[in-house]
Symmetry: C2
Amino acid sequence: MQPFHIGFLLWDGLTQLDMTGPAQVLSRMPGAQLHYVWKTLDPVMSDCGLALLPTHTLESCPPLDMICVPGGAPVAPVMRDAAVLNWLRTRAPHARLITSVCTGSLILAAAGLLEGYRAGCYWASGHQLSLFGAEFVAERVVIDRDRITAGGVTSGIDFAFHVIEVLHGRDVAEAVQLALEYDPAPLAGGTPATARPEILAQVRAAMADRLAAREADIAAIAAGQAGLR
Amino acid sequence: MQPFHIGFLLWDGLTQLDMTGPAQVLSRMPGAQLHYVWKTLDPVMSDCGLALLPTHTLESCPPLDMICVPGGAPVAPVMRDAAVLNWLRTRAPHARLITSVCTGSLILAAAGLLEGYRAGCYWASGHQLSLFGAEFVAERVVIDRDRITAGGVTSGIDFAFHVIEVLHGRDVAEAVQLALEYDPAPLAGGTPATARPEILAQVRAAMADRLAAREADIAAIAAGQAGLR
């Protein structure tokens, strides 16, 4: 079987499940070869105090059939990192699938890779995709041509099963689901639409300050890019 | 708030989502301090080609309020690793919760920590818990006194929300669900009971040889322990 090279972008402060969820699922896809990519081979610290080791630098990474950009709270510095954006722009035309999880779509968007596309994002941040010409869709998995983008964090697992379905069909996706015992049993209320109003208000309040700072930062990035056009 | 120290046992070949799923959820629990523990501080290789960095050795790890043992396919060597079993036996009496995900329960069982307990496990391996005096329950989260054990791989995420519910109540668990956008949308058939028969047969066939070897290995470990009693 032809190998299918998947590159996950690691970055300092990423929400590790954005990446480790899809990696677990896609590692069971026939032919998949997973690569973990950052500027250096030094350990990358995630949001959970768990450090992850890249397997490749941006330069040493083999040609990729699929690029996957995970998200995280401190996403703005990556959105203005010229080396990362250039890497994404250079690699994207050669990839079959360009993908993201959570606020990873804002990184793709900052690289200009979602202009004119529908895309998923974390529920509290998706509205900022429009600053980069993308249309936010509040679904767990959004497929628009060769862009497959997930909603927040745990959506990355559903996303990865859809990637397998797109590439190998439903039977293979279901087989991997069974192998990973994916029959989730959530409590109620995992989205703004389904959460109890008092829980939603409390979560919004807890993230308000941090979110406001990030939104201002991202708006400035978008304004800077618009100035360059 | 009093810190609540959670130690995840890393081991070579672990199924990384068994650990990274609960770590992501529990990192959002009030007071949680996460530790990643192995014999050395060298990188530990997971089943996905992703290397993880321990934060502590077995010796340097602080006292733990909760121990969590993830699973993986090559579980037998860990089940006969005297240093690991001794660490678990020594630490367990001081922990409030003793937990596992997937075949991690077989490691707890080999340490003698599930004798007389009901426990979860990966669907294809749970029947071997009885060799160590534990009763397998085919559910995603099994709570028996201070043992909370999960089913296979992705069950670890559901497990972690239940841990938060046990320690902090339903509202906090739901708030973390919303923060992690946990509203999964699986395809059908993620368990033997719900999978289409042809998919189940195919997955069983694909893992048959490896599983038979592992089962023989685990049976030998259980027989060796019985001889010591």
